[in-house]
Assembly symmetry: C2
Homo-oligomer: 492 residues x 2
């Protein structure tokens, strides 16, 4: 297979697929809408997961694991939830196969029909709140701060690798609290954890906001989100945190005795991010040569490639320099590899590590080494520098820091350049079509108007930014009065 | 709920359930045969997973992720495999629910029937080898060394928490090799990884062996295993590693070009351990007061409990000592907690941490502290010692090491005491009934005899130990000649 990628200019969508497939992140599978996460993609996910997990634990959460299957009747217990989730999902109806009496392999055994069908979890609120009923009796059992790392399934008709797949990996936090305010505080605290992770680790600037009623999670009283801008100007929701009120506690009858010995329903939150974040990473930073990965998450941060001559002494010298450098970098927890495989040429290696998004490439060339020089290339800007051997390790360390912040700043500048403030419908449509990006505009606050705008423009309200400045204005569609601007965009 | 446990003497099986439920490891779920892994149980699994993962990576493996669902037809492709796995499994037949027109919640939408049913993976050989076909063309693509951490589902009729559940968590390694010998070497290498993990981390002595044809994995040419003895003398298979020959390569047509440009089928292995290991840990080490966890895997290794008097200066002094000790221990990566919650009394805390299996308990008592003394209790032997304050940190560190090796030695002695060598059928049955434990005996090597022994005694051949001494003898059942002893036991 050729490693040449479609360019973003030619076909942004195909460019994305090319990167994911040829960059070794994922592959299609024989199961409709499901993907195979390949080693390079999975390693990226491991680094994301480990850091998020560290932050969840640092904020007092514990992990647990709940069943994959949800009894069908559970989905109906929370009225809004069933509307949102009980539709496109995988249904287990039987528990046995048998040999086909006509000899055609195996068939479903009609005698092994389940009394009640099981749904493969699309999200776990129902089964978890059913369990919390047994775990919560008193205020002493609260707060209950639990997270689960799991696979979930939502039967999607149109799928995209990482961005929208039938099965995906995610984490889902599910917490229970004694008071409304404590639950709201938890919701926004976890939104802050997500935002900080996106910005500090993924180098991805995000807008924190709250969803309109239309876009709320099914069963939530408020859905908070972080929204990021991709290189084509579209929005990608990178994480959500839901304040669930007492909806699930009431649906599953989860009450607790407070300090005054009064019974009350428990307050709830849930929050999640998924392997979709890998799609966001790719779309936000990569270029026509391949992946560009932020050093903090890159599975491999530094690759060292030798260019030998025919002289054994020089070869030994190069190998020695590489060994020393690796030891020094590893002491500082840098993920580094020395690729001296002589089945492939340096040029092939350069292209391969560019495609895979390795942040720093160090070339130990026989001729340079004689002059104590080394070539260091950074993946983000493709800049190459000749470095004195004695400053190499130091330079590499601060280059990793530079790349991380440069990637964030570049993405931030891109977002600022593509953030448009408009005041009329005509301008709104023209901006969407000609400029792409996010639009800050007035909206009259009704679901009807929101729906109409979506229908006419394919743009949706991504969020009402938190700490939004109040400002009097007129709705771009209806001209009705508005008190604040909201963010519109076309979205993934 | 009372925290008092059934004793092992009273009812070993109930004792096990009590420990798992009251020790906070797992809970039953509303889905038949599926369990909820509670935070304490999941933390234990995380420590096991992280260490195994480190060892898999150290031996050159990478993680990846394959779909949860397997098209039904895939299971039929490998003849032996379908016999073993295509029977009791969860079958997805539909992908949508709809509102019940009669108002009773949601029902399965009959229009949303899948053309081909999907099986929730009971193991992933088939979907993985279907994928490997695309990934392997040449000897340069080999070896392919991949592991997956995942949930799997096998529809079990009789379930036990951790030991046998419909859904469980596990890892499954799936490797592809150019030669038969390399695949066999991989199979035994991973068996060694499992055995070392069981012994060094779980403090669980294991016998490495190979399964008889009857007990082989469905589709394997050889199944290697590690077998451990529980406190009731029964065997528990703690891990398996399979040499799959070219069976899956032929079933999924995975061929490669070798260095001489000839085509050949690829050689395969697979190997796995699961959350069943948590059941093994409990059954091997715990006592009538609760869990006894090996320090290397215990989520909490040391707990510090203060016993204050009414004097503020003494309270401050105790808190200060605890803070210093925690800082010192944490620098050495000890997982330590200071429990100075004054809603519960020290006696309650002691029982709780005993139940949870915390290896070391340090009591900072107001009166002792005046004499610079501290009480240190070890969970495994329940021994309490008065320690000079200035040697406390050092003592704690080597106590953790002592407990780890003491637990292993105790389990090893128990196994040796319950390993019986018998030569006649009468002795065999008598030993099984009166003594319990493992039996080393001669067997004539046929499946028929093995089946007959199982039928008559409920004991199975656990394995033919690796590096078994050859010894002439007569089969305990048939009297036919035998060349080596094998290990019989009743098993979980
Ligand atoms: Zn520099
Ligand atoms: Zn000592």
């Amino acid at each position: 297979m050729s490693k040449t990628l479609t360019t973003r200019q030619e076909d942004y969508s195909q460019w994305y697929n090319d990167i994911v497939l040829k960059g070794g992140l994922a592959d299609y599978s024989p199961v409709k809408g499901c993907m195979v996460i390949k080693p390079h993609g999975y390693a990226l996910w491991e680094h994301m997961r480990d850091e998020l997990d560290r932050q969840f634990k640092a904020t007092g959460h514990q992990n647990a694991y709940f069943p994959l299957f949800i009894p069908k009747s559970f989905l109906s217990k929370e009225a809004a939830h069933v509307e949102g989730f009980a539709k496109e999902c995988a249904v287990v109806t039987h528990y046995r196969l048998k040999n086909d009496p006509n000899g055609g392999g195996v068939i479903v055994d009609p005698d092994a029909k389940l009394e009640e069908e099981l749904i493969v979890r699309p999200t776990s609120e129902t089964i978890i709140w059913n369990t919390y009923k047994d775990w919560i009796q008193s205020y002493r059992d609260l707060p209950l701060l639990i997270n689960q790392w799991a696979n979930v399934v939502r039967w999607e008709m149109r799928t995209r690798l990482f961005l929208r797949t039938t099965e995906f990996l995610w984490q889902e936090g599910h917490t229970a609290h004694a008071t409304k305010q404590e639950a709201i505080d938890e919701t926004t605290k976890m939104l802050d954890v997500y935002a900080a992770f996106a910005e500090d680790y993924m180098a991805l600037p995000v807008i924190k906001g709250v969803k309109t009623a239309n876009e709320r999670f099914a069963g939530a009283e408020d859905t908070y989100c972080i929204e990021a801008m991709m290189q084509d100007g579209k929005a990608l929701q990178a994480g959500t945190s839901h304040f669930l009120g007492q909806n699930f506690a009431k649906a599953f009858d989860v009450q607790f005795r407070d300090k005054e010995n009064k019974q009350d329903y428990v307050w709830a939150t849930s929050w999640g991010v998924s392997t979709r974040l890998i799609g966001a990473l790719v779309m936000a930073h990569s270029d026509d040569e391949g992946l560009v990965l932020p050093p903090k998450l890159a599975p491999l941060q530094v690759v060292i490639v030798p260019i030998y001559n025919k002289d054994a002494a020089t070869t030994a010298k190069i190998d020695g320099i590489a060994a020393d450098l690796m030891a020094t970098l590893r002491k500082q927890n840098v993920r580094v590899k020395y690729d001296n495989d002589d089945n492939t040429r340096p040029g092939w290696k350069f292209a391969e590590y560019e495609l895979k998004g390795v942040p720093v490439r160090i070339v130990l060339g026989a001729r340079d080494i004689e002059n104590n020089l080394v070539e260091v290339a950074r993946r983000d800007t493709k800049e190459k520098t000749s470095i004195q051997l004695d400053t190499l390790a130091d330079h590499t360390m601060h280059l990793l820091t530079d790349i991380q912040s440069n990637m964030f700043n570049k993405a931030l500048k891109f977002r600022e350049d593509n953030m448009h403030t408009v005041d009329t419908w005509e301008e709104f449509i023209k901006t969407l079509d000609e400029k792409s990006g996010f639009i800050s505009a007035h909206w009259d606050g009704t679901s009807e108007t929101e729906d109409k705008i979506k229908e006419l423009s394919k743009a949706t309200i991504r969020c009402i930014p938190l700490n939004n400045a109040l400002e009097e204005g007129k709705c771009i569609l209806t001209g009705n009065p508005s008190t604040q601007r909201v963010i519109f965009a076309r979205a993934y």
